[in-house]
Symmetry: C2
Subunit: 671 residues, 2 copies
């Protein structure tokens, strides 16, 4: 008996929960791990018992100022409660606690924790750390990280903000020489932060030494007003993530002490002499981590939205499939299953690969400390590609879930608009997706060169398959294949083929006289395709491997249904690539499609229990359509009745415009 | 010299405008028609001279109440000015005038004009018309159309609101017996309208006669308060279209006079006798019209968003393609062109098909009056499919344009968020897209049956090709083919094949014992594919035909580039379908891709001038990124500085939360 069944629930949903072929709680344990699941329940309980974490009204009803006030209140509260509620050394616990208390839409000192403190730890010298770090950890100030400018994002060389050293006063002069040099986008910069890491071009003794980080006070500690010479504010409303006060920042000849420059690596001596870092160091680790984290983030969005869509589709009835037998649950429609279930499968695939890539990240960090940097390029490459592919597929998937809920999905009450606008941000933040796809492609092209020159690199799991010879013909439907070896080989084949083809074309274009860069640009769309094929292979292999590890047969069988759907859905998605060189036959594609439809039918009776086992609470979902109890319609009406426009029976301006128009018309017609 | 070039413009954009191979103004004339273009200019001028049409601040800064007040103010103003500004008998003029004055986000009496007045004209008998129509036209009241309920949308049979006739008082009793019977979604119902057409199940003498329309007063004419027994309000914030007060409505035993029932067709006599309509009449015309209009609407969205993306991509510089030559315009990247230019091509394709389908609609209405209803099924079918395909492709395309603008596209200042949230609404309103695709498929299956039985229907342009035999092998790249006959034949082949295949499978499943309905559901995903293939064929053929009509060679050449991109892009989109039966070869697909990339390169130098020729004004675009003058960055900063959060240097609640937290931390560290 599912713990999700309670008295007073919508009977259609209860019926679905009873149908499950597996134990929901056992599935939840498998999904989260037993210890994490227990802790999730305890943390959720803690939050439920502290009503001060509740929103005073649904956030969809709030103005942006109210949103930020509410988020600020809850962020401070979250910090105060953290030590009591969770083991703060465990990321899983703080992520979950934050998700419950602050939701998905950002908070006013996220950047302080994620960017500013790590920068101090990695770039401040000992004296600076002694001064700044305790204060930062105690939250005596709130800092952010200001790199991106209006005119340039990640390209450090092209940043325009200057920090010019003046040896007379031993100060730097920070300046924003152009409009485009305005810092633009840094999270929490607009209103919350009073300090910031600022990336600026370092000038000393008439020479530019490139972009360096500085630690700069922006606002008065007492009044919180911007300091002289500093213009700072919020960049205005966005598609989503509006609780974050992403900001702009301009300097008008602002003087800061010499020791404001982060001096662990490079230095400026009092006389203005530049001391370069002892070894030039590529520090991609924070970026790699964030990109890897996007994969898990997208998993969360997909699992949340598919939970909403499945539950609503169990209580929404529409049309008769067999005349005279009454309206069916819309989840019975194949088209509805085809919209929603692949999103569940992708959500699970992303979750598994997200876990894997974070482990790989941690392993690689350990390796680096031990002097082994060999895995860095592969990790960097796959994390870029995964970020791009999962953020786009994820966002598209959310919209499928939303549209599967028809008109009601368009209501803010559904929870979908917030999910989508937050999730789609990941397509452009932390490395715009096309740039990311091409980053991965650079690595793939290196591998292609190694293949063509017969010099494979040190073996490793992510990229090895490129150097192998697979079957020359697709074996889908030809062999008994419980582990989907034939499907994985098909993905490998496609990835290998498109990578080598685009490599050969690059070489050919150069032989025809193009520069490498122009040739690259002419092949860019196909290079992106190579990355997508590589990422597909990675996601699919990880999914297969993880399912193989499951011991419990009833749970494994459910995962196998999702895996079947995932793999054959992906086959249909990349079918043109598999068909075009004759690797796969039309008959095999028909077989793949049949497998998709079969999987949909197998998943159908378990769908409600599957999404239950993701253990996403109503507090997280923030969705009237996705409520655990399935009592959608009455709560939709209640929700609407609470909304701001309904505070007045008659809008205050009615008589000024429409009322007046109608009155005058009636007067006129009486004449 | 382009009329879009002015002094003070961003020189990067001017340079692009100078590069055009054609005359922008001649293109604009071709695009809109000479007379319409002239009138557009005059109307735009009229609006510019009446500053009262200006928004007091960007709408992105407004609360929903402010949005609706502003929209109401402008809607009343638009009505007052209409006769002076435009020829109100010409739809093109009123559409354009409304677009300039009210924008894309709806208005408080749109439904009065589009739904309520036509219902009175089509469904009220003479006496009722005499009473209601003059008042409606004079705007003595504002009415809407309330059909959709919380639990059911377009399925009239399942509506739950009841209208029970009481012969004693000669009244109907309107009642909402369940939560799900609550009227939910009707536009302008929440706050603006004081009357509504209400669809309700008619009961008389103990018998239900099905859903009928009633004309019901909802609010007091003087106070605008809801009348006794009526609960009415706004359904709350939505993903978009928030200037529209979509509403809910419940009746608690509300009595209305017998003559409130629309009596042109069916009647209730004073004693309660039901008089059925003389002939049961399917009145799809309004729905067909709205669905056809969606095609043009999506064209407008795509052309607006591609205008923004192209202009911004001309002034945004990022990265060097050739080292040492400086940063390039991002429009020079193939990946950027691949994102944006197909949206231009689709926008143009939708515009051409949108025009065509509206003409077909008008022709069909004339035919119906003359007793010829033969074209109705084809028109109905293609309009459903077109609505579904163009609304989804359109919305996806807008997101591509947005993401092509990187982080800045995510700002409300870009204009994209409003465009997307409004446009994507079309996927679920006026017939949810899956339902629409399956409607068209029903018609296709009828055609397939006719093919298999060798009985073709009366010839007509939309569906004829299904009955023809095309080539058995794809002829792309095999023949000289200036009119793309081989591509059109490929689309026809695919549409024919998938339609017949799914028909045969339906028959087979029934032979295996499935009911028709269950077989239909098992084939539903493939049925949707058949519709998409049919719609693709229609869009492509219309595009080819329209381009062939262009006389001017320099303009035609530009259209041909867009057509080349459109057709071969579509070939790559449906490549799996063309490859799987061996119709197209891998080599031909390579040829198609090459044609896509060639078309991108040909369009590149004309891109800025092409979007100029769509003649979309800054007032319509509402986009800082898409400004005609290209002066993006300084205006982005100004825009942000005007935004509500920046009214305060320090947010009013700062000291209550963050300030307090930091103060306390500093106190503590001093101890």
């Amino acid at each position: 008996m599912s713990r999700y069944i309670r008295e007073g629930d919508n009977p259609d949903l209860t019926e679905e929960r009873r149908k499950a072929s597996f134990d929901t709680e056992a599935m939840a344990e498998l999904f989260w791990g037993a210890r994490n699941l227990m802790r999730r329940r305890e943390i959720a309980n803690y939050v439920e018992q502290h009503r001060e974490f509740d929103d005073p009204q649904p956030t969809a009803f709030m103005t942006r100022e109210e949103l930020i006030e509410n988020a600020t209140r809850k962020a401070v509260l979250t910090m105060e409660h953290a030590e009591k509620a969770i083991d703060i050394t465990r990321d899983e616990e703080s992520h979950y606690f934050n998700a419950l208390t602050m939701g998905i839409d950002g908070n006013p000192f996220g950047l302080h924790l994620v960017m500013a403190i790590p920068t101090i730890m990695n770039n401040a010298d000992e004296g600076q750390q002694d001064e700044w770090l305790p204060k930062a950890l105690n939250r005596e100030f709130i800092a952010t990280y200001a790199q991106t400018e209006m005119g340039h994002g990640t390209n450090l060389k092209k940043l325009e903000t200057t920090a010019t050293y003046d040896p007379k006063t031993q100060e730097f002069i920070l300046h924003s020489p152009t409009i485009t040099s305005t810092k633009w986008w840094p999270g929490n910069l607009g209103k919350s932060s009073n300090y910031s890491v600022v990336m600026a071009q370092l000038y000393s003794q008439g020479k530019c030494y490139g972009a360096h980080p500085f630690f700069v006070q922006l606002r008065d500690l007492r009044t919180h007003k911007p300091l002289p010479g500093i213009t700072v504010g919020d960049i205005g409303p966005k598609f989503g993530i509006n609780t974050n006060d992403n900001g702009f920042l301009r300097f008008d000849q602002v003087r800061i002490p010499r020791r404001s420059m982060f001096m662990k690596h490079a230095k400026i001596l009092p006389d203005g002499t530049y001391v370069p870092p002892s070894h030039s160091k590529l520090n991609y680790s924070a970026m790699v981590y964030v990109r890897a984290a996007v994969v898990s983030l997208m998993a969360s969005h997909l699992l949340a939205c598919s939970t909403i869509a499945v539950r609503y589709s169990c209580i929404r009835r529409q049309g008769e499939i067999t005349p005279g037998t009454g309206e069916v649950k819309v989840l019975d429609y194949q088209t509805q299953q085809y919209r929603i279930f692949p999103q569940i499968a992708r959500g699970v695939a992303f979750r598994l690969s997200g876990n894997y890539i974070i482990q790989l990240y941690r392993q690689t960090m350990t390796d680096i400390k031990n002097g082994d940097i060999s895995a860095v390029p592969d990790l960097h490459a796959i994390s870029c590609g995964l970020k791009a592919v999962t953020s786009y597929q994820g966002a598209l998937g959310l919209e499928q879930c939303r549209m599967a809920c028809g008109g009601h999905g368009y209501l803010q009450a559904s929870g979908f608009p917030l999910q989508y606008t937050v999730a789609i941000g990941a397509c452009t933040y932390e490395g715009e997706n096309m740039v990311m796809l091409l980053q991965t492609a650079r690595h793939l092209i290196k591998m292609a060169k190694a293949i063509r020159s017969g010099r494979p690199p040190k073996p490793n799991k992510v990229i090895d398959y490129l150097f192998k010879k697979g079957p020359t013909k697709c074996l889908i439907d030809q062999t008994y294949d419980p582990n989907y070896q034939s499907v994985l080989e098909a993905f490998e084949h496609l990835s290998r083929r498109v990578t080598l083809e685009v490599y050969d074309r690059l070489v050919q274009l150069q032989q025809q006289g193009r520069s490498y860069e122009l040739a690259w640009n002419e092949c860019a769309v196909d290079l992106c395709k190579a990355t997508r094929a590589h990422v597909r292979t990675f996601l699919a292999k990880t999914f297969v491997e993880e399912v193989n590890k499951i011991a419990d047969i009833s749970l494994k069988s459910v995962f196998q249904d999702l895996l079947q759907l995932y793999l054959f859905y992906e086959v249909t998605e990349c079918a043109a690539g598999l068909l075009e060189d004759g690797f796969m036959s039309g008959q095999q594609l028909t077989y793949a499609k049949k497998n998709v439809y079969d999987a949909l039918a197998k998943i159908r009776p378990n769908a409600a229990a599957i999404v239950d086992s993701f253990d996403i609470s109503d507090r997280e979902l923030q969705s009237v359509l996705g409520r655990r109890d399935g009592n959608v319609y009455e709560n939709l009406l209640k929700w609407a009745q609470m909304s701001p426009l309904n505070k007045h029976d008659v809008l205050p301006f009615h008589h000024k415009y429409l009322g007046k128009m109608m009155d005058e018309a009636r007067q006129k017609s009486k004449l």
